[in-house]
């Protein structure tokens, strides 16, 4: 139990360092939905860094999974629910201009009002959804 908090803090620190590097060197927000979304309507000169970041995301996860158990898991959601969930996440992050990383990590760190409001909103609707599915006890 204790160690899962330490791992969470250490992992969060790494995510923060990654986001800081993107801003410090490239001047960009490390928002995953935005980085991936930009690949769907490719603009010249804006493709390779996005692909490299996404490749790194998978490779970094794979390397870390060698030393962490359990690394990857599945939810009990069936394929139909997973499909609907993915669609909602795609639509929502596009309409709302960001996800957990862009709003929750980068925006809040800059003191953005919009990101704070977005983060409180998606945690609230996420929690409501989980309670409706799993019950309030």
């Amino acid at each position: 139990m204790q160690s899962s908090y330490l791992m969470a803090l250490a992992g969060g620190g790494l995510i923060g360092l990654s986001a800081a590097a993107m801003m410090f060197f490239n001047g960009r927000v490390a928002g995953i939905s935005g980085i991936v979304g930009g690949l769907l309507r490719p603009v010249a000169g804006e493709v390779s860094w996005r692909l490299l970041f996404v490749f790194g995301l998978l490779a970094g996860g794979l390397v870390a999974s060698r030393g962490v158990t359990p690394a990857f898991g599945a939810s009990e959601a069936g394929m139909g629910t997973t499909l609907v969930a993915g669609l909602l996440v795609g639509i929502g992050t596009r309409l709302g201009n960001g996800c957990t990383s862009g709003h929750g990590v980068c925006g809040i760190a800059r003191g953005s009002r919009r990101s704070l409001a977005a983060t409180l909103t998606f945690i609230a609707t996420g929690a409501l959804t989980v309670h409706l599915v799993r019950g309030f006890a």
Binding site: A77, A117, A118
Partner: protein, 163 residues
């Protein structure tokens, strides 16, 4: 390809690697933990709060340093969102995203990283997410075209009233 462009790519790759490792280490790639975190009035697992907490603290300190510089090391300017108002689209989008996050237990980063496991669930999730992103982007593009058409094209399109 300029040296700066190559460095930009190298930083993106290293940042991606670090981000992916951080997601796995922190437990974000386990949907069961995400569900536990969002289950405030059930068996609440608070550990994931420390992920966002740790990331925000590190990133906020870095931002305080970065903003003193006029520009990033490898770019002409910081690319930051310009808006500061809270509009319904932002809140509706965040709300929908939260419902999807609660249903599937994945947000975009961990879902992409989980593709490395080769499992079916993250693959289905990511494909659906890309579809959602693409459809919404296309819809926004159309809306913008319609708005532009209404404000610029309209005076010509509307017949001039005879007097």
């Amino acid at each position: 390809m300029t040296a700066r462009h190559r460095l930009d790519g190298a930083v993106s790759l290293v940042a991606g690697l670090t981000f992916g490792a951080g997601l796995v280490l922190s437990g974000m790639t386990q949907p069961a933990k995400v569900h536990g975190f969002l289950h405030f009035f059930g068996r609440w697992d608070a550990s994931l709060a420390f992920v966002m907490g740790g990331a925000v603290v590190v990133n906020a300190l870095a931002w305080q340093l970065a903003r003193r510089r006029m520009k990033p090391l490898l770019a002409e300017r910081f690319s930051l969102p310009a808006r500061s108002d809270l509009d319904p689209k932002l809140l509706a989008g965040a709300g929908l995203f939260g419902v999807g996050w609660g249903l599937g237990g994945f947000c975009p980063g961990p879902a992409l990283t989980s593709l490395a496991s080769g499992a079916m669930q993250p693959l289905v999730f990511v494909l659906a997410m890309l579809l959602g992103l693409g459809l919404t982007a296309a819809w926004e593009h159309r809306q913008r075209a319609v708005e532009l058409g209404a404000s610029e094209g309209a005076p010509e399109a509307v017949p001039v009233k005879q007097s």
